[in-house]
Amino acid sequence: MIYFDNAATSWPKPPGVAEAMTHFLAEIGANPGRAAHRRAVESGRALYEAREAVCELFNAPDPLRVVFGLNVTDALNLALRGLLRPGDHVITSSMEHNSVMRPLRALESGGVEVTVVRCSLEGLLDPADVEAAVRPHTKMVVLNHASNVVGTLLPVGDVGALCRARGLLLLVDAAQTGGAYPIDVQADQIDLLAFTGHKSLCGPMGTGGLIVGERVNEKEIEPLRRGGTGSRSEYEQQPDFLPDMCESGTPNVVGLAGLEAGVRWVLKQGVEAVRAHEVALTQRLIDGLRAIPGLTVYGTLDAERQTATVSFNIAGMSPSEAGLRLDDEYGIMCRVGLHCAPAAHKTIGTFPGGTVRFGLGVFNTMDEVEMALAAVAELAEEAR
């Protein structure tokens, strides 16, 4: 069995993740931030340690400005719906996932102006095109750090500098890069970083969050949910400080204990080491696929300019048939179709048919890449 669906959810998880979750359930288990007994405090500590781990990974200065939620979609919704108001203008790219596009389209119908900056066929974004789109009422630029379809990295650091110069907020969707590619929210001048726990942070599903930078005035954030926080309990109004104002209801501490273990594992390996491993696998995969007659490989074709996610098509075979046969006949699990990113597929010219996507991860090996290449070559030969 070869698991090549890491762009959706990473698997397997590193040692320590399941153990941390089991430990929490069996030995701690109490509600954080409500009671003050010893296990409630332990639970609060587990939650807090997860905040610190995330801050360490992304070089964020203040653990109390990490807002946890369900996943990156939750975090993006909080940032977009929480900060954009009718009359504001927001700029995004044509490579975005629906986790950005759908909230933006809904906001658009409510009076927020949206500009989608066109990327190249390889998925590359020219920061000058972002600059040209800025208007007097532009409030925010939102970009994915890397495409979930072709892995192409967007120049978030350059756009970050531009946003600072023009007084705009930069929101980055780090779903595909967090834990797999170096991110420094201070150096890259990222004001809002949305991350998910279940991909390269190596944690469980149902974990993610938003890092809220110092340039964002939290008093202006409209929370997605209101309710109990364990703080200011004598008031019927929502607290107005982070993280509580955006974290109503009992959090997924069991999941976040797993997330902390995943992030600690990534930190121990070093993001640079994870990246080097993935670059080597990715370049071999790209080169091997390009050598197979009848294959079209999308993106930059340069592992240094993308994540470990590679999209391709086999001439004469639909992505769905290829996906089914790779699974049934070769035990290769991947994802085919549009990957929740119709805009990106339109940009690279694969809409509405979609692509076959191999999402490699830190636990994949060169042997697996070679086996997959042999499998694809057989399918391509048959389809010719």
């Binding site: 931030g33 609060g44 109390l64 509580d244």
Partner: protein
């Protein structure tokens, strides 16, 4: 516990309280998370208890990292 021995630092949330506890531990100040004493009112049900003699050092350590506190009271 002897009356008059301790002070409590009140904080805005449990996350703030746990951050405070970690910072104090790092500064070598003995602290304990306890429920907020009934006669005090706080944003959050939990606070950090320290020895009165450590009050100034504790406040300095928290200020050094920019952690906002709600108040400090002798108990």
């Amino acid at each position: 516990m002897n009356a008059g021995e301790y002070a409590v630092i009140l904080l805005y949330s449990t996350s703030h309280a746990i951050r405070a506890e970690k910072v104090l531990n790092g500064a070598g100040i003995v602290s304990k998370m306890i429920p907020v004493p009934r006669h005090l009112s706080s944003n959050c049900g939990i606070c950090v208890r320290i020895r009165r003699g450590d009050r100034q050092a504790a406040l300095q350590a928290l200020e050094a990292i920019g952690l906002e506190i709600e108040g400090v009271h002798d108990i």
